[in-house]
C-alpha cells in the first residue's frame, strides 16, 4: 500500500517536472549543444557555417595568429570581467545601506519602500539607459546644472566629458542592476531576529562590532544571491555598453552580438559565447565554494 503510494508520488513528481524539462531541453540544452558544435566550425565567404572540427576560433580569441600575438580579444574578456566585479562591488556598497534601512523601517513603510525600489523597472530597460545620455552628455543635465551653479559664484566651468565613456557604462550597469542586489539582501536582513541585535549589545558589542559579527554574516546569504543575480547578467549584457560606451567600449556581449549581426561569423561568436559562459561559471563556482549559497549560514 505504502509502496504503491510512494510509486504514485514518484510518477506524479515526474509529471510535474515534465513541462519544465521539455522547455529546458528544447530551448537550453539543445541550443547550447548547437553553440558548442558551431564554435568548432568555420565561416565560409558567404557568412554560412561550415561544420568541421577546428580550434581556429579559440586560437583567434587567445590572440594567436600568423602575424603574432594580439591581445585584443583577451582585453575585451578581462575588461568585461573587471566591469562585472566593479559593478557587483559598487552595487553591494550602495545597496546594502538601503536594504538595511528598508529592513529596519516600520512594517507599514517597508512595502512602500520596496515598491519604490521596483518602480524604475516599469520603464523599458533601453529607455532608462538612454535617459542617462540626457544626464551625462556635455550639454546634459549634470553639466548644465554644475555650469549654472558655478556661474552664480563666477567660476569658469569646462563641462565634463562623461559620455560616452567606460565610467558611463559602469554607472548604467549599477543603475540597472541595483534592485537585483537590494531585494535579496533585504530579504535576508529582514529575517534577522531583532533580539539578536539586542543580544549582541547586551554582550558588550557596540554598533560596529554588532554589524561585523552579527548583521553582516547573517545577511551574507542575500549578498551571495544578489551577487549571482548581478554578476552573471553584467558579464553578458551588451545594451548598456552599446548605448553609453560608444563604439570604443566593447564588452564580451558586444563582441558576440557583432559577430552574429555585423561580422556574420557565428562560429567565432559561438566560441566567444562558450568562453564567456566558462568564465562566468568559473567565477560563480569559485564564489559559491568560498562563500556558499548561504545555506549553512541560516538556521533552518
Amino acid at each position: 500500500m505504502l509502496a504503491k503510494l510512494r510509486d504514485k508520488d514518484a510518477r506524479r513528481g515526474l509529471l510535474l517536472i515534465t513541462p519544465t524539462m521539455l522547455w529546458m531541453i528544447g530551448l537550453l540544452i539543445i541550443p547550447l549543444i548547437l553553440v558548442v558544435i558551431t564554435s568548432f566550425g568555420q565561416r565560409d565567404p558567404n557568412g554560412n557555417v561550415i561544420y568541421t572540427f577546428t580550434l581556429e576560433n579559440y586560437i583567434r580569441l587567445a590572440g594567436i595568429s600568423a602575424e603574432g600575438f594580439d591581445p585584443l580579444y583577451l582585453n575585451i574578456l578581462t575588461g568585461s570581467l573587471l566591469l562585472a566585479f566593479q559593478t557587483t562591488a559598487l552595487v553591494i556598497l550602495i545597496g546594502y545601506p538601503l536594504a538595511y534601512f528598508v529592513a529596519r523601517a516600520p512594517l507599514k513603510q517597508r512595502n512602500l519602500l520596496l515598491f519604490l525600489i521596483l518602480v524604475p523597472l516599469w520603464t523599458n530597460f533601453v529607455i532608462r539607459i538612454y535617459a542617462w545620455i540626457m544626464l551625462l552628455r556635455k550639454t546634459g543635465v549634470i553639466n548644465s546644472l554644475l555650469g549654472w551653479l558655478l556661474g552664480l559664484v563666477g567660476i569658469q566651468f569646462t563641462p565634463f566629458d562623461m559620455y560616452p565613456s567606460s565610467g558611463a557604462v559602469l554607472v548604467g550597469m549599477i543603475y540597472e542592476f541595483l534592485p537585483f542586489m537590494i531585494l535579496p539582501m533585504y530579504t535576508s536582513l529582514e529575517k534577522i531576529d531583532p533580539a539578536l541585535y539586542e543580544a549582541a549589545a547586551d554582550l558588550g558589542a557596540n554598533a560596529i562590532s554588532t554589524f561585523f559579527r552579527v548583521t553582516l554574516p547573517l545577511s551574507a546569504p542575500g549578498m551571495v544571491a544578489g551577487t549571482i543575480l548581478v554578476f552573471i547578467p553584467v558579464m553578458g549584457t551588451f545594451i548598456v555598453s552599446d548605448i553609453l560606451g560608444g563604439r570604443t567600449e566593447i564588452l564580451v556581449g558586444n563582441l558576440i552580438q557583432r559577430q552574429f549581426l555585423d561580422a556574420r561569423d557565428p562560429a567565432f561568436g559561438s566560441a566567444a559565447s562558450i568562453i564567456l559562459m566558462v568564465m562566468t561559471l568559473a567565477v560563480t563556482i569559485f564564489y559559491a565554494r568560498r562563500f556558499g549559497f548561504g545555506d549553512e549560514v541560516i538556521a533552518p
Binding site: 531576529d193 533580539a195 539578536l196 539586542e198 543580544a199 549582541a200 549589545a201 547586551d202 554582550l203 558588550g204 558589542a205 557596540n206 562590532s209 559579527r213 552579527v214 554574516p217 547573517l218 549560514v297 541560516i298 538556521a299 533552518p300
Partner: protein, 367 residues
Amino acid sequence: MPEFAVELRNVSKRFPGPSGEIVTAVNNVNMQIKDGEFFSMLGPSGCGKTTSLRMIAGFELPTDGDVLIHGKPMGQTPPYQRPVNTVFQNYALFPHMTIGQNVAFGLEMKGVPKSEIATRVTEVLAMVRLPNFEKRRTRQMSGGQQQRVALARALVNRPEVLLLDEPLGALDQKLRKEMQLELKTLQREVGITFVFVTHDQEEALTMSDRIAVMSGGVALQIGTANEIYERPNCKFVADFIGEMSFLEGKVTSQNGAVVTVDLEGGLTVQATTDDKLTNGQAVSVAVRPEKMHLKDISLPADANRFIGHVENVVYIGTDTHYAVKLKGGQKLRVREQNDHPGSQPLAQQGDEVTVRFAASAARALTE
C-alpha cells in the same frame, strides 16, 4: 559596595501608542534589589515587568527617573557598557555561530585573552551541564539545551546582575520545573543577583527571595513570597497570587488591627488590616480557601462563623473544595484537607454548613 545591586528611582516609561496616544508602560516605579538576591517581577502581560527589565538592561531608557546599578546612575549608558547580562525570552542565540562561539562572544568583546576565553567557556558549559558542546550548532539542540547555552553565554561574563526575561516560557511543564530548581541552585552557587521576569506566580513563588507584583505599570507590592501570599496589600495582589475569596462590605468600626465589616444580608465579618480605615469605607475582605473550615475546630470566640449552603463539591485527592453560598448571597470557596485515612467529604451539595475562620485569616483591603 552599596547595599543594592539595582535600584529603580521614580522610573516611568511612556511610549507613543499605535494611534498617537501616549501609553504609560511603567509608572513611577521604585524598587530596591539587594545584592545577591533572586528577585522576580511578576504580573500579567502588559503590566510593565518586561519594560522595567529592559530599562535595567539599557534597551529602553526611562522617560523619567533613573536606574542605578550598584549605586551608579545609568542615565543614557548603552547596553554594551552596563555591567549586566540578559537571558532572552527566546534565547536569541546567534544562529551562525557554534555554541562555543556564542558563549565566547561577550568575552571577545571585552578583549579577554584567547587562552582565558577557552578556559572560561569550558568551565561555564560544564556548570550548565553541557560539557564538550563547544562545536555544536544551535539548531542541533533542544529547547532546554538552548536555554542553558543562553544562560552560559550570559554568566560567562560574570555580570553584576543577571536579567532573565521569561526564560522558561518556551519550555514544557516538566522541563520548566527542572530548570526552576536548577536556576535557583545556580544562583546560590554563583552568588550573582538575578532579576527574573515571569507571569507565572508559582514560578515566582518557588524561586524568588523577593517578588514585585506589578500591574498597569505600577509595582503594587514588593516582598517575600510569604509576605505577598499571607499579607497582600491590595485586592489585585490578593486575587493574582493563589486562590482567594472576597466579601464586599463597609467598615463599621476599627479596633487597632481588627476591623468590623458589614456585609449585605445583615452579616458581619471580623478582619485585620494594616491601614487606618474610616467608618463607612468600602472594603474587600479577602480569605484564602485553606484558612476557612467546615470542621468544628477550636477558634477564638470572635472568629467568624457563617451559615450557608453547599453549592458544589469537588474532590481532588489531597483536598476537597466546597463552594458555599452564604445567606447574603456571598460565595466562598473552602478547602479542607483530606488528612485522615479514609477521609470522606464533610458535606454534600445542598447541605447546610457553617464556615469558620479566624479574624486573623481575613484581610480587609481597599482597592
